[in-house]
């Protein structure tokens, strides 16, 4: 099963600074393993970030995104305690959703 994401959402004014770290191999389909066999494509195709249930970022990715992908976005009109949920789907149709609450600025 897919590993949990690390998500941090911090309020800066009325904008939430959301940083997401996903754990995923992101295989390009070009790399060869020790036996010379090509490692098949395996990568996150879609990442959806929602703010209190409303989609704010809809990202489409290719295999050119690095392994264990990082994504940073700024969500407008956020308040402390708002829910930020992130869902990714890869090309093998595996999914993972994690949710955090927006933390007040420190």
């Amino acid at each position: 099963m897919a590993e949990p994401m690390k998500i941090r959402a911090t309020l800066q004014g009325d904008v939430a600074d959301v940083r997401i770290l996903m754990l995923h191999p992101m295989e390009t389909g070009q790399r060869k393993d020790a036996k010379g066999q090509i490692v098949p494509l395996h990568f996150i195709q879609s990442v959806i970030v929602t703010h209190n249930g409303k989609t704010v970022v809809d990202a489409q990715w290719s295999q050119a995104i690095s392994r264990n992908p990082f994504l940073g976005v700024h969500v407008k009109g956020a308040k402390a305690g708002d829910k930020i949920a992130v869902t990714w789907t890869d090309n093998k149709n595996e999914k993972r959703t994690d949710e955090v609450a927006v933390a007040a600025a420190s």
């Binding site: 489409q60 290719s62 050119a64 690095s66 940073g72 976005v73």
Partner: protein
């Protein structure tokens, strides 16, 4: 593996015909972009084809797109790229690495209420221009930055 590759190529060819129709629709409606994974764009091997899949024919150079990335990336497997678009009503941001085997790296649809900012890490096979295509109010803007890569990140 060869069999897989063949069917993969066949798929791509089939999708090519679809794009011509889809591209027109994308520009007109703007909303269709978010609907499905841009298969043709992501599987395009030439930079020009990837641009075409974004409906990018009349690109305007813009100074309002700020690309934050290193001038020299030692490790092509992890190249941090952050994009800030100061263009009002930024709807989407796409990242393309010109010399990658598949140039289109990502498209971010921000129309739902995000600031024109994304930050991520991409792989780069070799030294290349990284192009950003920003869509705002139905128009397309672009900016580029050359990133030198010491060790490629595709193998």
């Amino acid at each position: 593996m060869n069999v897989l590759r063949r069917s993969f190529l066949k798929l791509t060819a089939g999708a090519g015909a679809l794009t011509a129709a889809a591209a027109a629709g994308l520009v007109a409606s703007g909303q269709a972009w978010a609907a499905a994974w841009n298969k043709t764009g992501f599987e395009a091997k030439a930079y020009a084809d990837a641009l075409k899949s974004l409906g990018a024919t009349n690109l305007v150079q813009s100074k309002d797109i700020v690309i934050t990335a290193p001038d020299i990336a030692e490790n092509g497997a992890v190249v941090p790229v952050a994009v800030t678009s100061k263009i009002p009503n930024t709807q989407s941001i796409s990242i393309l690495a010109e010399n990658n085997p598949f140039p289109l790296a990502a498209t971010f649809d921000l129309s739902g209420g995000s600031e024109g900012y994304v930050s991520t890490r991409i792989k780069m096979g070799k030294t290349s221009n990284v192009h950003i295509v920003v869509k705002a109010d139905g128009k397309l803007y672009t900016a580029a930055k050359e990133i030198k890569v010491t060790i490629g990140g595709c193998g």
